[in-house]
Structure formats: C-alpha cells, structure tokens
Amino acid sequence: MSRGVPAVEEEDGEPEGPEQSVSAPAMQEGPERELSHEEFDPKGTLALILMYFTILVVMWVFMYFIEFLGNDLVVVG
C-alpha cells in the first residue's frame, strides 16, 4: 500500500515559503512572482530556438559546401 510521500501536487500549501533547491547556495534568492500558464509567454525560448536553427542551417550548408564543392565529382555504382 501507498505510504504517502508528500508530493507537492497534493500539498495544501507551503508553510516555510518557496522551497529552496537542496543543491543551491543558501543565500540564493527565491522566485519573486508566480506566473500562470496564461501569463507566461516564452518569447525568449522562441528567440533562442530561431538562433539555433540559423546556426544549424549555416553549418549544414557549410558542410554541404565541403562535401560537394570541395571535391571532384564522384560516380557511385
């Protein structure tokens, strides 16, 4: 039978404020505000991912350049 580890999902509230990560420095500041799903707009994530895509495309084209323009034609078969 279940022995009931207190998952936060089931808690009624935290008496000691937001829980600090056990691996963080003791002086680390906790969250200043709570953002709900509706209030949160991950535009920074979008910017980072677009940046990554740009890098990917440039590097892929660079590799393609090395493969095909850096070598002579090869006949396969």
Partner: protein
C-alpha cells in the same frame, strides 16, 4: 522534522539504499572509465605513453563498455527506481525481487568488466578487445558475452519490477493518469525491450556459441545489423534518464515549472516508436545492404529530430518560466536571472547546450551522402562525446548533486567544487570534442593508437594537427580532473553529519496531464506500433542478408582468436604465479 522536508531516504530507506548501491556501481565504472579515457587521450596524441600500443584496444574497450554500458545504465536503474517509487508513492511489490535484479546486473557487469581487464595480462589468454561495438569478426572470450547476457536479463527484470509496481498502483487508482516520471520509466523500458531483441539474438544464437567453438563461423553482416538494431536505440536508453531530469527536476532548479506535461509524454512515445527502426544508418558504408534500405533508415532517423526539437522547446521554456518568476526580463536578459551558482542547474543547462551542438553533428552523421565524409574518422567520437559524454554524463553528475543529499540525508561536501566540476567538464569537452570534429574533417581515423601514418601528412585548412592534439590532450585532462572532483566531492559528502529536512518536492507542470489525450497512456498500443515499425524497417534487409550470406556466413577467421579451446589453464596458473612473484 516537518513532513514537507522529509527525504526519500527517510520515507523509503530500503529503496534509497538500493538507489545508492546502483549509483555506487555507476560511479565506480565512471572513475575507471575516465582513467582509461585519459590514457587514450594522452597516448593517441603522443603526449604521454606508458602502455604498449598493442594494449590500446583493451583500453578502448574498457573505456567504452564501462562508461556507456555500466555507468549510464546503473545510473538509469537507480534513478528510475527512485522515480517510480517517488511518483507512484509506493514501494516495489517485492523488494527482494528488486535486490535480485540489481545483484544480477552487478554480477554480469563484474564478469564482463574483468574479462576486458584481463586483456592486459597476455599470459592468461582471456581477453575481450572487441570495443563497445562487439560484432564479428572481432571475437571476445565467452565470459564477455556471458556477463552481458546476465546484465541484460537483470535490466529486463528491472522493467518487469517497475511494470508490476505500476499495475498494482493502477488497481488502486483506476481512473488516474500515470504520473509523469513513471510514464517516462515505462516508455523507456518498452523501447529497451524492443531494442534488446537484436542484441539478444546476436549474442545467444551467434556470438556466444561462436566464441565457445560450437559453431565455426558467423555471418558478420548479420551480427553487425543485429548489433545496430540495438546499438542505436541504446543511445536513447542512455539519454532518456537525462531527459527525465531535464523535464522533471530542471524546471524546479530554475525556479519554475515544467511547461507542458503532454509534450513530455509525446516525446517519450516518439522515442518508443522511432528509435529502433533506424540502426542501419550506422551501416551506410557496409556492403551487402541495398541503398534503398539505407535511405529508409536515413528518413526514419530524420524523424527522430522531432522529439529532440520538442524537448529543446519544452525544457528551455520551462527554464524561461523559472527565470521570469525570478524577475528575468527582456528577450535574452532573463538568462542572467537563472540560478547559475547551483551546480545541479548549471551542469544540466550546460549539458543541454552541448546536446544542441551534438544535434548538429548527429544530423551530419545521419545524412547518407555527407556521412561518407566523416565515417570512421575521429569526428564520430567527437559527436558522441557531446551526446552521451556530456548531455547524458554531465546531466547525471549534476542530477546527483541534487539527488544525493536526499538519498543520504547528508549535505554535499562542497557546492563551489561542484560548480567548478561541471564548468570544467563543459570546458574540457568543448576543447576535446572540437578538436575531434575538426580532425575528423581532415580524415584523422578513430579507433587507433597510431593515427599518424608513416609518410603521410594530414592537410589542414588552418592551424595544424599538433594544435588539435594539444586541444585533445588538454580537454581530456580537464575531463579526467573533473571526474576526480565529482567523485571526491561525493566521497567527502559521506563524512558530513546526517541532518534533517533535505527533502525536496517537484512542482506540478503549467499544463498538466489532463490536457493530453488518454491514448498517450496506452502502453500496449505504443509497444504494438513500435514492433510493426521495426518489422517494416528490418524484415526485408535481414531477409536479404541471410539469403545472400546464410545464417552463419561463408567462413573467415575471427580476430583475436580466443575461444575456450585455446585457453590452457596451466599457462594461466603460471601467469598468476609470475604476477605474484612466487616460485616457478
């Protein structure tokens, strides 16, 4: 002690002990593997050589098997045992069964590990210099394969244990969604069961009987194909525990919440479906497999980018949520609001960053045409040192900084040393894998102690091979020192006094499981589709391979020859006497 701060070790002492035990095996393998890693790095680059080059394959095999089989998988079973127990909120159905599979896995690893290490003692005649990719014609001593069989059966039983625990939980909670961490464990294990079909057939029906001398020959292409049937999905077996930490622990460390539980479930289901029917992409240069099958494998592989990109979005968005809650503003300035002084957070974030770079070189490897440029060069180890060597290994080490206090009730010995360790790993790997990728483009081969051939110069576009060697050697050294710092920090933590209140909870996702369709939790459906996809991808190529070369091939010698018939116990005994320095 407040209930809220009760640790996993307080509530589940027996389970915590098992997790600690599996981590102990994992970290022992990590230390040994790192030692063999630095020996390789310094030997290849000619900086320091104290082993004969003929022992290089033994070092390479020990490095590969100890790190990518023993370290990663023992960490996985420990982490998953913690996750199932925590998220289902219950003990295993029979903890003796849990002890049994962990013991079985340990025995298997010791047998395989010792067989590899005996390769350093030529006189005994036992060796397994076959690398992690242990297919024919390289042949190991039968003990190598026997240990692997015992180890894999142990992992299968671990899955049985977790499925059984879940089924009992389900009886008590018929209408509830599977808790996310348990969902991740179950899907990972379905993937593992499907993937290990290939290696089980290869070892039990071909490699083990062959090494025992029961059959004369094997079909090398068949064993290669069966190996890669397992050899590619196994990389996701390493990766998915890291994903579990990124999805469920990293948002908490960042001070936020997981962006989407449904997306996380979709990602894990995609890995069940897509990870196995791709292995032939490791065989683009193998003769005997039609180009069409290779093209299908390439297409399937590109689909695998989807769960990785979904993960990039979900995990980064969860970190951004934490940063915004901490007061982060702007398009990029929120990055500075993240808790960079927490080694668990920083380690995982840097591991994710390196995984993004590994994603690029992975795309190159997967591309059928461009793969020819880098195949069998040191580019490939450069790639997987970014993925398994950093995304997985660094996440596991960083996760340990958060998990270890909850498993031992002792604080970490030093948080700053932990921070230095994860940053040093990142720096070391940046140097080492960069030099490997670049050297690979110049054609420097992998898997050799002597990459410089006599009378041949590698032409570089800029810089020099010597400069790349320095990068590789310095990077490898930093990685070794980082491993020592990690292991030392954990060992010293055991000297800290036990304290109360180190327990941690995990925040619920912004978008919870009820936002996803219930069909995602249908394990039978996903397992069934996965098997159908595997059949579609593998039935024809395997049929063609057997038709062309026969089940047992057409002959050819194994190398190195080390079947039991060659083992002379008298010679072995003499060697032991010589080692001990007693009368001969």
């Amino acid at each position: 002690m407040s209930v809220e701060r009760e640790t996993f070790a307080d509530r589940y002492p027996e389970e915590a002990e098992l997790v600690r035990r599996s981590f102990l095996v994992a970290f022992t393998a990590l230390g040994l593997g790192a030692l063999f890693g630095i020996i390789q790095a310094l030997h290849r680059t000619n900086v320091l050589r104290f082993i004969p080059s003929t022992d290089y394959y033994t070092v390479l095999t020990a490095h590969g098997v100890l790190l990518v089989i023993v370290f990663t998988i023992f960490y996985l079973v420990g982490l998953y045992q913690w996750a199932v127990t925590r998220s289902l909120d219950r003990s295993p159905t029979n903890i003796n069964f849990t002890r049994a599979w962990l013991t079985l896995m340990t025995i298997g690893s010791v047998i395989t590990g010792l067989t590899i290490l005996l390769g350093f003692v030529d006189q005994i005649g036992i060796s397994a210099d076959v690398l992690f990719t242990f297919y024919a014609p390289l042949q190991a001593h039968p003990l190598f394969y026997t240990g692997l069989v015992v180890f894999i059966i142990g992992t299968w039983l671990a899955g049985v244990d977790w499925f059984r625990t879940w089924l009992h939980w389900k009886q008590d909670n018929p209408d509830e969604r599977i808790p996310l961490q348990t969902f991740m464990v179950l899907t990972t294990m379905i993937m593992w069961y499907v993937a290990t079909i290939g290696v089980a057939i290869a070892v039990l029906f071909f490699l083990l009987p062959w090494s025992l001398g029961l059959i004369e020959t094997v079909n090398p292409l068949l064993t290669r194909t069966l190996f890669w049937f397992f050899g590619h999905p196994v990389v996701y077996f390493w990766l998915l525990p890291a994903y579990m930490l990124w999805y469920t622990v990293l948002p908490k460390l960042a001070g936020g919440r997981l962006f989407s539980d449904p997306l996380a479930r979709v990602v894990f289901v995609l890995f069940v479906l897509l990870s196995t029917p791709v292995g032939i992409h490791h065989q683009y240069v193998d003769p005997g497999i039609a180009e069409g099958f290779k093209f299908i494998a390439m297409t399937n592989t590109m689909f695998l980018l989807l769960p990785s990109l979904l993960t990039a979005f979900t995990v980064v968005a969860s970190m951004e949520h934490g940063a915004r809650q901490r007061g982060g503003e702007g398009l990029f300035r929120w990055l500075t609001a993240l808790p960079w002084r927490d080694p668990a957070f920083t380690g995982m974030a840097l591991a994710g960053l390196m995984f993004a770079a590994g994603g690029f070189s992975g795309m190159i490897n997967a591309g059928m045409n461009i793969n020819y440029l880098v195949h069998n060069t040191i580019w490939v180890p450069g790639h997987f040192h970014l993925t398994v060597g950093t995304a997985v290994a660094l996440t596991m080490m960083a996760g340990t900084y958060w998990l270890w206090p909850q498993l031992t009730n002792r604080r970490l010995y030093s948080r700053p040393i932990g921070l230095l360790q994860v940053v040093m790993w990142f720096g070391g790997m940046a140097l080492m894998s960069n030099s490997m990728h670049v050297a690979g483009l110049y054609g420097v081969p992998r898997r050799t102690a002597e990459p410089q051939y006599a009378g041949f110069d590698f032409q570089t576009a800029f810089g020099s091979i010597a400069e790349l060697n320095v990068q590789l050697a310095v990077g490898g050294t930093l990685l070794f020192v980082s491993t020592l710092l990690f292991l030392g920090n954990l060992a010293l933590s055991l000297g800290n006094p036990k304290v109360d209140g180190l327990g941690q909870t995990l925040p619920e996702p912004l978008s919870g499981p009820d936002d996803s369709p219930r069909v995602l939790d249908n394990m039978k459906l996903w397992a069934g589709i996965a098997l159908v996809l595997v059949l579609l991808a593998y039935a024809l190529p395997l049929g063609a391979i057997v038709q062309n070369g026969g089940l047992f091939g057409t002959g050819g010698d194994a190398y190195p020859v080390s079947v039991l018939g060659r083992f002379d116990p008298g010679v072995g005994l003499d060697a032991v006497r010589e080692l001990l320095g007693v009368g001969r």
